[in-house]
Symmetry: C2
Subunit: 435 residues, 2 copies
């Protein structure tokens, strides 16, 4: 009767649902638990926190008091696509070793259950206290908040080879990518039967997710490659501005509005009418590991940098504009008659005639040094989602690869494309529409 409500001693008893607790209930519980709440000016959020900190032991399950912490795993679409970008990513590609399609299905079912638990901030499995078994959860995320974790699953073109009898189901939109100008692709950062994008506002939680998915996959799939990434932490950016990439420029300004359903249906979500019914409400994810030639970039003038992007570094405005979200003016010319927005600037080429869009969801990466060159291995883990890569990403990147001024400063070292399934209904599983 004297334990604080989050004490481990309460394990096995029904959870107290924080969302249903009124402020009065909290005060009553505080009295019962003797948890030493600091009242005064604090709001309800503050009460919860105090109760957490004053517990005899840290909470063994992540706390669900703040529903902003949780992005539901279930829904019409998968989370992690139009979800506002979290602070971190751990991307992982897996190759299947399963011998039958049934094993693959079982893997996806097990992953579904694990992903739903982890995005809720719950520990995996029930054998975390049995000394005679390996713990069912690896433990490094214990006690942490859900941190808006999302886990997004897709399958690559190799998933549809002869092994599992799915060749006939391969979407035409999951096209092989041509060689683009600027490609120096390496196997160690390319391809994969399965792609899993984990995002969270905590890197340790993202690591925990991929590691536990890999454990669950034992005997059925192995990791092929992984890449960590970050943005500025949202807490460090009071203006909540468009994040800057490692070139110092804002990245994502031109993104379509994720709250505009019509636009998302046009740009992001595949439809049954596109020819692959099992991808209805899914999306195609392109992952490119783009190394920046940091040292070359850093020696170039601000003028060259701005001409390369076609934007002002400070404001993010298109060259000749004053504000980040100013419309691109492709016609504007300087006093000598030269276009203000250089013909081969990144933003001009990517914009094209304005009809082809993608949803960018990229992260910066820093992966130590390239010991062959003595330079930093850092850049952009470019990720985008589109409805049909044949009509969106591929033509856009073809044009960029040919003449983007940016090519002087970047090299594409990894590449992959995945068909991301539609969302999962509760009780269903990832890829159910395909199997």
């Amino acid at each position: 009767m004297t334990e604080p409500i989050n004490s481990n001693q309460n394990e096995g008893k029904p959870n107290i649902d924080a969302k249903k607790i009124s402020r009065r209930d909290l005060l009553r519980l505080a009295g019962v638990g003797g948890a030493g709440l600091l009242l005064g000016a604090a709001g309800v959020g503050g009460l919860f926190q105090t109760q957490e900190r004053s517990a005899a032991k840290p909470a063994s399950k992540a706390v669900k008091a703040d529903k902003d912490q949780i992005v539901s795993f279930y829904g019409k679409h998968q989370a992690g696509i139009t979800t506002p970008a979290q602070d971190f990513i751990l991307f992982a590609a897996f190759d299947l070793t399963a011998s039958t399609l049934d094993e693959v299905r079982k893997l996806f079912q097990a992953w579904t259950s694990a992903a739903a638990s982890m995005t809720n901030g719950e520990m995996l499995g029930k054998t975390n206290d049995n000394l005679n078994l390996p713990p069912s959860d690896t433990g490094e995320a214990e006690g942490l908040l859900p941190s808006r974790t999302t886990i997004t699953f897709g399958v690559g073109s190799s998933f549809f080879d002869a092994r599992y009898g799915l060749a006939g189901k391969r979407p035409a939109a999951l096209a092989d990518m041509p060689a683009f100008g600027g490609d120096e692709l390496r196997d160690e950062w390319s391809g994969g039967d399965i792609g899993v994008q984990v995002n969270a506002n905590d890197m340790q939680i993202a690591f925990h997710a991929i590691r536990n998915l890999a454990r669950i996959a034992r005997g059925k799939a192995v990791l092929r490659w992984t890449q960590e990434g970050f943005q500025r932490t949202s807490g460090a950016d009071p203006a909540n501005a468009t994040p800057r990439n490692l070139m110092g420029f804002r990245d994502g300004t031109g993104n379509p509005d994720v709250n505009d359903d019509g636009e998302m249906n046009k740009v992001v979500w595949a439809a049954a009418a596109d020819g692959t019914p099992w991808m209805d409400k899914g999306s195609y994810m392109v992952v490119r590991r783009i190394r920046m030639r940091i040292e070359v970039w850093d020696r170039s003038t601000l003028g060259d940098q701005e001409s390369t992007f076609g934007r002002h570094r400070d404001s993010g405005a298109p060259l000749g504009g004053a504000h980040e979200f100013d419309k691109l003016d492709l016609e504007k010319k300087d006093e000598k008659g030269k276009p203000l927005l250089p013909m081969n600037s990144h933003v001009r080429l990517a914009h094209g005639d304005g009809t082809v869009k993608i949803l960018r969801r990229s992260y910066s990466y820093s992966s130590g040094m390239d010991h062959k060159t003595g330079q930093l291995d850092a850049g952009l883990l470019f990720i985008c989602f589109n409805r049909d890569s044949r009509k969106q990403f591929i033509p856009m990147q073809t044009k960029l690869g040919q003449s983007d001024l940016m090519n002087e400063y970047v090299v594409h070292t990894g590449s992959a494309m995945f068909a991301c399934f539609p969302g999962v209904r509760e009780g269903g599983y990832i890829g159910e529409t395909l199997f």
Copy 2:
């Protein structure tokens, strides 16, 4: 007269010191600036935030409203040693290419000025708006809060070789490390003339710091190796508990109290009386890149894991204890007469007779995959500070290398030691006591 106080148009005018502004002043400024503050229930912190967000352009300098955001670069000791651990680290080792000691001194002077600016959240230099020059700051941290950035400088034993005539100044305590059991050291993560530890609550800010220090060093020093690391973000851990490492166990429980000056003088801070006057109030930093055999660990039973650490995974308590900070009881035996704390458990060996301590300040790392083995390259970027490695870290690690149960699960892939200078007085520079 109508610009919000953080507008760029105010550059060059004296900064308004947020700490001296009363709430009434704020309201007055809001009226003058027309910044559209939302008043209502928000406190002063909220007012600041609103003002930030409503500025016509994001602040071009990091905002200093919250003094908790800044850890001063100047002081008796360097910051980043007894400073409570921030969420992220970017560690970098440099090798000198300078031809004279005077050049090295100039590098340290330039680094001092840059480090003081960056820890204040300021952009570097004054040529960030000149189109004809490379910007003096690379820009990716523009508009971000200082985020408790610390930058800690040290020099390795190779700094004292024949090149700069400093051989006679090498501290005896900056000893060569012997080969330890479990070492599989690689050059690419070992050594360095100079070690720089950057910590911040934001990874992008940490990257920005190392990158700009490397820029400033051009012609005088080159990067030798770098390693990123993280802890759970403090925002994800409402209990503010001792962070867990990637084995799922708490790391740092046994640390000495950084608020106990007597203890810090004993454990961490070198003194003139130790024989190297220029290191008075400095400290010796040991960096070890410790890869965990994640897949092997994850297959071991909870019982084996707990015996390895000598602690309970869930609570962090010593085996046989109930609470994380329970005193280690080396004598306690089970009903069969076996010590509850196994003789070769990590905590027992590291504790020894309790007289030898170090200050641990470690981070987890995740660096993609080891493509030779197909396994995750992840583990611990172990960092500790001690007053004399010959008496503290080296004997401790010798014992651990010989018989720590942990050795089955880890391999040390990188190693370095640095003599971290005393703190810098305002107007002084890093290493001034040595030069």
